[in-house]
Amino acid sequence: MTLPAIFFIIILVLVVALIWLHYARVQAGRVPERRPLPALEVLRAALARSAETGRPVHLSPGASTIGAGEGQRASTAELLAGLNIIGRAAEQAAAGGASIVVSSADAVAHLALRGVVRQSYRSFGQEQSFDPRQIELWAHGDAMAYTAAVAAIYARTPLEASLLAGAFAQEVLLTAETGAERMVPQVLGSTHPSALSLMAITTPHTLIGEEIYAAEAYLTPTATPQARLLTHDALRTVVVWLMLIAFGYGFFRIAFGWPALAGW
């Protein structure tokens, strides 16, 4: 087995241990305070209003696809984050009687969404309220076509709100600006810098970068997402400390004649 493989296994074991540790910590009731994400309060409020107005809330994991195609950036992780958010939003919809429309831009994501949303309705004993026609495939592997489809839905269907959290690039502007023009409350999230700047000017409710991975923990008090968030924070702290240590080492190494680190 090669050195990178051994290193990878060690990191994997450490991360798994962290996840279990934080899961036990959350189960014991030790959940620290965290900063609010106002965008998700907008989503919660929209789901609550939807039960009264009858207008659906549109949910989407973005133009995320499983794996990377030729010339495309892989967006499986963003798709997983979107699935988690939609699962929790669907739970709230099932509990409150809200109406939702779920769309996707990938055939595999479409099937995963059907399972996730059905599970959400089942977990609240509302499986009879689940309608598979709520989940629609609007495009496959074509982000531009997908955002055009979302923009068309904004024009045709009165929506209570729209959540698009996942992999987006510049084409999100087509959807976001149409939604802003029609005054559809939009919660937009992406990890792509070019999409984020466009989202920032079209809606005040954005999930920036890693916030799409944290969002699930804000939508439900259950232990599993809280543990994920704590693990994420811990790993980020470790990475920041490593960078600071490396910076300090680089700062002093010339003065003290220390050897350069590998890769410098």
Partner: protein, 222 residues
């Protein structure tokens, strides 16, 4: 979430997903020839399952739009256009015979002339038009952002305008401006982008590992 340990069916599902993911990951970091063989098989199976999922998706789309046409829904016309376009692409890509050295043959790849012609004449102009529209959408979004008075939106617009102006050839050749822009790109912009990427990468790492160990089971029926 119910524990997979209490549900044998769920446990088997988690084990299959976890072991498969681990094998492919180990192959990615170079764990040896035996792992590579197994990973190649798994990746091929995944490609096959994805292809089947696309076929299922096609049938799902076809059925839902056909229902709209049959029920004469308000936007049935759009559904008709969509189904027509779908049939044109399927026929051009799979069933339209092409002339070869040995006679007529069905298209073997997506690089065959009939499907390339459909994409060149229909899809590419449509995509180009939509992309061209983004310029006007961006302008309108900027005007709306400035009118809204939101601080972060105005900040993004101001920075975008500055970036555009500073890249004008007349200004970019001025040494101080050129160097300042280069410094901003090399340090501030790169730092921000890397910070964003780091956070997203850690989120992706945790999400992936949680799938491996069965904390998240989007594939299971629980």
């Amino acid at each position: 979430m119910s524990s997979p340990l209490r549900n044998p069916r769920q446990l088997i599902t988690v084990l299959i997903a976890g072991v498969s993911g681990l094998v492919v990951l180990l192959d990615f970091v170079g764990a040896g020839p035996a792992v590579r063989v197994l990973a190649t098989v798994l990746v091929r199976w995944a490609a096959l399952i994805t292809a089947i999922a696309v076929v299922i998706g096609i049938f799902s789309v076809f059925r839902s739009h056909l229902q709209r046409i049959q029920m004469r829904a308000p936007e049935a016309g759009y559904s008709l256009v969509l189904l027509g376009g779908m049939m044109i692409v399927i026929v051009a890509g799979i069933l339209y015979p092409t002339r070869t050295a040995t006679g007529l043959a069905l298209p073997a790849t997506l690089a065959a002339i009939p499907i390339r012609t459909v994409f060149r004449l229909i899809y590419e102009p449509l995509a180009a038009s939509l992309l061209a529209l983004l310029t006007f959408f961006a302008l309108r979004a900027m005007l709306r952002a400035v009118r809204s008075g939101r601080a972060e939106a105005i900040f993004v617009v101001v920075v975008a305008l500055l970036a555009l102006i500073l890249q004008l050839p007349l200004l970019a050749v001025i040494p101080v401006i050129g160097q300042a822009v280069q410094w901003l790109n090399d340090y501030l912009v790169a730092a921000g982008a890397r910070g964003l990427l780091l956070g997203s990468a850690i989120g992706a790492l945790v999400a992936g590992i949680r799938l491996l160990i069965g904390f998240d089971m989007p594939y299971a029926d629980r």
